[in-house]
């Protein structure tokens, strides 16, 4: 196994730029690693070896011509299969899009290419990003590299598993209710949900438009910041994109200093039921660590967060019921029952019945119901009010503190199949992450140790105000540095070798 796969993205970028190693060598090393671990973890829906080597060669040629390369040029990245790519299939892990080739690149895809990143393939996810375990993929479940009988979290489970298994140093994800932070937490890596509008949704197949946020995965905080910076920033093709400079995330990750910062501990997220003991222990230690690093911690109450989960499960399905209406067999994707005797309406119904999985159907039905006349005010309307209250709780909190912290997810990775028949238990995985989606602010998950019950990774969530993404990285990097000093290296060293 090549030592290249153990390097950080920052190191690989530097080595390629200096000519110490070629982008082709780096890419080939990772393609070899993918071939090695993929049979065990099933992280990818599509591996684009040829296209990847082609991109790598282009980077090497640019370097040979004396062009100055960006910090991530020639670094492999795995791309969640919910972003459109002209040169690879894009399925959102749904049968309804099987075989579809988008005629355009998502803005995130385009920016990865422009930064010279090498897209090695498309990663698995819960169908249309609906789920917390990647078991809702219509193609296959992905497995957690820490324990192959467990889920890697979701919906961006493929990306998280690929990074944790050293198949790639970087991956993209999308976070609608925790779909980056929760898989990052349960696979022992770093994942960020940027400020809503900070990264473009153009070309991201929509689940819930007002919540979906593209973000990075990496094995360390600086790498995550580098990827964050590479694909973020204003995009005129996305009306909800914020027209402001990207917060100085890379600088903050290098700063890694919390002295004098005020850190709020969200009371509601350490007192509730359903939290694993080991998760709470690691969290408490992380808070103590922050204090030892010179931060001032106080307890903050956010009473409206109790309603975040139900509000989310009205807003997200409502938007999804409308966003997914376009999959009707008329223009692209799956078509079922078109035998010349059936009407367009019948073909639409048969296609949608065959093409969507049970969780997608559940949410379409929930959302259709919540938006129906006579129920709108009680459901969608009330949920929007809760959303406002949650934003106010955050506003009040950020008057007192610079960042808020909580466990990323109440438990460590659960077993495959354990929650598939219990949607409510599955939904609880996102309890701590959902408020930031509803309020649109930034949050990161960084590893903070292993739970003693199961020796599985625990994530620390750091939440910052809108456009305060740099604070997530600053605090995250400080925690990472102190813990790695304590552990004598990254947490992933503890993971079983695959």
């Amino acid at each position: 196994m090549s030592e290249l796969i153990r390097k950080t993205a920052a190191e690989l970028g530097r080595m390629v730029a200096s000519g110490e190693v070629s982008a082709v060598e780096v890419t080939q090393a990772h393609l070899d690693r993918i071939a090695e671990v993929e049979p065990k973890i099933d992280a990818f829906l599509h591996v684009a070896a040829e296209a990847a080597l082609e991109q790598a060669r282009a980077v090497d040629e640019r370097r040979a011509k004396g062009e100055r390369l960006g910090p991530l040029a020639g670094v492999p990245v795995a791309h969640k299969d919910i972003f459109t790519t002209v040169d690879m299939p894009t399925t959102a892990a749904s049968k309804i899009l099987e075989g579809w080739r988008p005629p355009y690149d998502a803005t995130v895809t385009r920016r990865l290419r422009e930064a010279g990143l090498v897209i090695v393939g498309k990663t698995n996810l819960d169908e249309f990003a609906m789920g917390s375990s990647t078991e809702n993929s219509a193609y296959k479940p992905t497995r957690n590299p820490w324990d192959l009988t467990r889920v890697p979290g979701g919906s961006s489970g493929g990306s998280a598993a690929a990074v944790a298994a050293y198949a790639v140093p970087l991956a993209t994800g999308t976070d609608t209710g925790g779909s980056i932070r929760q898989p990052a937490a349960v696979t022992g890596i770093v994942g960020t949900k940027p400020t809503y509008g900070g990264s473009s949704r153009y070309g991201l197949i929509a689940f819930a438009s007002s919540l979906d946020t593209p973000g990075p995965f990496a094995r360390n905080v600086l790498d995550a910041a580098l990827l964050h910076e590479a694909f973020s920033g204003h995009d005129p093709l996305d009306s909800t994109s914020i027209n402001a400079p990207v917060p100085p995330v890379v600088e903050a990750a290098r700063q890694a200093d919390v002295s004098g910062m005020r850190v709020g501990v969200i009371k509601e997220f350490v007192e509730g039921e359903g939290y694993q003991r080991g998760v709470l222990r690691r969290f408490t230690e992380a808070v103590e660590l922050l204090e030892s690093l010179g931060a001032k911690t106080i307890e903050i109450s956010c009473p409206s967060f109790a309603y975040a989960l139900p509000a989310y499960y009205l807003i997200a399905p409502s938007e999804c019921s409308s966003n997914l209406a376009r999959f009707d067999a008329m223009r692209y994707g799956l078509r079922v029952g078109d035998d010349g005797t059936r009407s367009a309406e019948e073909v639409m119904a048969l296609t949608r019945a065959a093409g969507f999985g049970p969780e997608v159907k559940r949410r379409i039905m929930l959302g259709t119901y919540a938006l129906s006349s006579g129920y709108y005010d009680a459901y969608y309307g009330s949920a929007q009010k809760v959303r406002t209250l949650i934003a106010r709780d955050f506003e009040a909190a950020f008057q007192q503190v610079d960042v808020l912290v909580s466990p990323t997810t109440p438990t460590t990775a659960f077993k495959l199949g354990e929650r598939v028949d219990d949607p409510m238990a599955m939904y609880l995985a996102d309890l701590c992450t959902i408020p930031s989606n509803l309020a649109g602010n930034a949050a990161i998950s960084v590893p903070c140790g292993l739970a003693e019950e199961d020796n599985l990774p625990v994530g620390l969530q750091i939440i910052a105000p809108v456009l305060g993404d740099d604070r997530c990285y600053r605090v995250g990097a400080a925690v990472e540095k102190a813990l790695e000093d304590r552990w004598g290296g990254p947490l992933l060293k503890e993971a079983p070798s695959l």
């Binding site: 153009y202 929509a206 909800t240 409308s322 209406a325 367009a344 309406e345």
Partner: protein, 503 residues
């Protein structure tokens, strides 16, 4: 389909018994260069599905970006209709499945229209009727379905259907009236006059080409009847997609007669959409509103709210053009034409053309004569609108000038117009190429007169004996000999001189 028991009540009788209540929803396609939420062009008549992109095809992952020009045009329409302009409003999704809707939802506006609460005055039979405007909102058009096979041209019963998405995403402004009451027997004309006034207003604002036959202005009319002296409105029907002023008037009239017939027979009006048939002037049942769809409106999360800057709105208000009704009155006074002639010009869409011709130097009477006479006839023959004829107001003004200066007579002028329409060049070029200038050489004309007198000795004798009216035949002879190129008045004068009688 209509039930066989339906009998119409004659309009006059219906009006004695019932009071109609109208409501109109008008859709105007804006003439912006690009579509509402993407950069695709909006040119009419391009080959199917050539003006499309990921956004207007609703491809997965695509996102809309609102067209600022369309928002500006909508606000200008609202201001011209005396509406309030929202301080803050949002787009909303209207959800329903139909193959011509790429996303299976339409981006529209729901309870937060851009403009609301206005009015417009229309004139009918010299009476001014004020029509309240409920709202003016902005939305995207759908694609255009063509259903092939089957009897009705509708999706049910068709063998197959094709969809052209070129139209999908073209900005569409919906203008909704408040209920129009108290118009009585004028109701059908009021509906027509309202749509005509809207059309003129859109044209004056320059926001749309408002071609009803191309569907860039489409109208739905709600009609219900209330018994005279009653207070409660009846159940309404909505007749969809009327595409000419005449259809608007006829559809209202028919619905009044049909509903009155049903009510009179003790029947019940079904709340439904109806289709109007040009050939018979009748309406038939469409979809019943009682099985109406639930559109599940909710605020469009892919777009940010619109909050028009107040200073900007005031600037747009200050820059509004002269209202069409005011302009018509001004032009009528300037041109000195009757109400009847003015109405005829308006119906023929000739006002702009006559005005431009007058601006190019022609006397109003001459400009009107050519546009409403020869050119209207030509347009009618070729099935074109006046403005579509390949002749400019400047060219018509030049023809007027050539006639006024005696270089052409009316007959020659008609030939010049014919030449210009045939693409033979400018009026002067046509005169040159066809050799159409009047014979003005006195010697040449005198010789022809002599020859005609000699060939028609009998007639000449009658004229000499005082039957001056007979001279017309000799003038005709001269015109024939010159192929129409003589100045008829001068020829007559010469004939009378030579025959020794005074004219």
């Amino acid at each position: 389909m209509s039930t066989p028991t339906e009998t119409l009540m004659p309009f006059d009788e219906a009006m004695e018994r019932y009071e109609p209540v109208l409501g109109l929803e008008t859709h105007v396609e804006l003439g912006t260069a690009s579509k509402m939420f993407c950069g695709c062009p909006t040119t009419f008549g391009a080959p199917p599905n050539t003006q499309v992109c990921p956004v207007c095809l609703g491809l997965p992952g695509s996102l809309p970006v609102a067209n600022a020009k369309a928002i500006e045009s909508t606000i200008r329409i609202g201001l011209a209709l005396n509406c309030s302009i929202a301080e803050w409003c949002r787009f909303a999704r209207k959800n329903y499945f139909y193959p011509d809707m790429p996303k299976n939802f339409q981006i529209s506006q729901y309870d937060e229209p851009l403009c609301y609460d206005g009015y417009i005055d229309v004139e009918v039979d010299g009476e001014t009727v004020r029509i309240g405007i409920e709202r003016v909102h902005l939305e995207e058009d759908t694609g255009k379905s063509t259903h092939v096979g089957g009897a009705t041209g509708r999706i049910h019963g068709a063998d197959y259907s094709t969809v052209d998405y070129n139209r999908a995403g073209i900005p569409l402004v919906e203008i909704v009236t408040k209920p129009i009451t108290g118009t009585g027997r004028l109701a059908p004309q009021v509906a027509r006059a309202y749509v005509a006034e809207l059309r003129d207003l859109m044209r004056a604002l320059g926001v749309s080409d408002v071609r009803m036959e191309q569907g860039s202005l489409r109208c739905d009319v709600n009609v219900s009847l209330m018994p005279r002296g009653g207070t409660e409105w009846g159940t309404r029907t909505e007749t969809k997609n009327l595409n000419s002023l005449r259809s608007v008037e006829r559809a209202v009239r028919h619905e009044i007669e049909r509903q009155a017939g049903i009510l009179d027979a003790g029947g019940r009006i079904i709340q439904e959409t109806r289709h109007f048939h040009e050939d018979t002037g009748t309406t038939t049942s469409g979809r019943s509103k009682e099985e109406a769809q639930d559109y599940r409106y909710f605020p469009e999360p892919d777009l940010v709210p619109i909050a028009p800057d107040r200073e900007w709105v005031e600037k747009l208000r200050a820059e509004l053009p002269e209202p069409p009704s005011v302009r018509r009155r001004r032009l009528q006074a300037e041109w000195g034409v009757s109400d009847h002639d003015m109405a005829a010009m308006r119906n023929a869409d000739a006002i702009d053309l006559v005005e431009a011709t007058v601006k190019a130097g022609a006397p109003p009477a001459d400009a009107r004569k050519w546009w409403m006479g020869e050119l209207a006839r030509r347009a009618n023959e070729s099935g074109k609108a006046l403005a579509e004829l390949p002749i400019t107001p400047e060219q018509v003004a030049r023809v007027c000038e050539l006639v006024a200066s005696g270089q052409l007579n009316d007959k020659l002028a008609r030939q010049v117009l014919e030449g210009v329409l045939a693409g033979e060049g400018t009026p002067d070029e046509v005169v040159e190429r066809r050799g159409l200038r009047i014979v003005s050489d006195e010697g040449e004309l005198a010789a022809i007169v002599d020859q005609v007198i000699a060939e028609n000795a009998e007639v000449a004798e009658k004229v000499r004996n005082g039957k001056i009216a007979a001279a017309g035949a000799l003038v005709g002879g001269v015109m024939k000999a010159t192929k129409g190129k003589a100045d008829a008045a001068r020829a007559r004068q010469l004939i009378l001189e030579k025959l020794g009688v005074s004219g």
